[in-house]
């Protein structure tokens, strides 16, 4: 009997294979990180400081809209249209969300709030996220995810070394994570376009 569970996952895998979700997600991370870095070089007045933040939010909305347009104009005419059902989350993802929720709960507990301001916070977060990515990639046998996990682990000491405050450290971590995600998404999208030329005639029966 064919592996029906594997076939059932194909609609979600197909959209991931196009690279569009990675491109959109990576760009959003990059834009949010860049907006903070731009704030740092602008004069410290209320209006000027708020402008990059709102510009980034508008750009993020534009990115999500653009992702939808790319799917409609480039992806669906080549590979077909599908709207996946919400899929069961993997156990690793569930553990990660529990860990993140517990972590944030602990940090927001009165008395622990100063931990967020601590220099070790973002490096520690990078180590945890990198470890989860590495283990997840190893279990699912996806080398790309494993390499990404190793990359994020290597970011941790760099984030620790950066001679900036925690807010800017966070911004640099977003930029550092966003760039490889965008590159990965672009490579996947290009690969999808090359492997799926536009059909010469309408396939619809």
């Amino acid at each position: 009997m064919p592996d029906i569970d594997r076939i059932t996952r194909r609609p979600a895998e197909y959209l991931a294979e196009t690279g569009v979700p990675l491109l959109a997600g990576g760009l959003v991370w990059l834009l949010l990180g860049c907006s903070i870095l731009v704030q740092r070089i602008l004069p410290n007045t209320f209006v000027v400081q708020e402008a990059p933040k709102w510009a980034a939010i508008c750009c993020c909305v534009a990115v999500l809209w653009l992702a939808k347009v790319i799917k409609q104009r480039a992806v669906f005419p080549r590979g077909g249209y599908v709207e996946p059902r919400p899929y069961r989350r993997s156990r690793i993802f569930v553990w990660f969300m529990l860990f993140a929720a517990g972590f944030w709960g602990l940090l927001t507990w009165p008395g622990y709030l100063s931990l967020i301001e601590s220099r070790f916070f973002w490096p520690a977060f990078a180590m945890a996220a990198g470890a989860i990515g590495l283990v997840s990639g190893w279990r699912q046998r996806t080398p790309a995810m494993m390499w990404f996990g190793i990359y994020v682990l290597c970011l941790a000491p760099l984030l620790w070394w950066l001679p900036v405050d925690n807010y800017e450290r966070w911004a640099w971590s977003q930029v550092a994570v966003g760039i490889p995600i965008v590159i990965g998404g672009a490579i996947r999208f290009r690969r999808f376009l090359k492997a799926n030329p536009l059909p010469l005639e309408s396939p619809h029966g």
Binding site: I4, T8, R10, Y14, G79, G80, Y81, V82, P84
Partner: protein, 94 residues
């Protein structure tokens, strides 16, 4: 084996039903590419599934481009689940 659903049991239709069970809806091109069937073959299998009320087919347009959307009905989803349980039970007996 007599009580196995012959509509779903056919490999191509089983694959179509399994693909649609992971989606809210899919178009003809997606099913064509994922199943590897020819257009005529796929149309024929979809017609059989539609006759059994396992799928619903909507022919519409996206702009000026014709679009054939396919969805698995609740009856089709239930039939697929029952088929899986039946086949797993039969395989366990071997």
């Amino acid at each position: 084996m007599d009580d196995v659903d012959r509509i779903i049991h056919e490999p191509a239709r089983l694959m179509i039903a399994a693909l649609l069970s992971g989606a809210k809806e899919a178009d003809f091109l997606f099913l064509l590419r994922e199943t590897g069937l020819t257009k005529g073959n796929l149309s024929s299998h979809l017609a059989k599934l539609e006759d059994a009320a396992y799928v619903e087919i909507e022919k519409t347009f996206r702009g000026k481009v014709p679009l054939t959307l396919v969805r698995l009905t609740p009856k089709g989803r239930s039939a697929l689940q029952s088929y899986r349980k039946r086949m797993n039970g039969l395989l366990r007996q071997l």
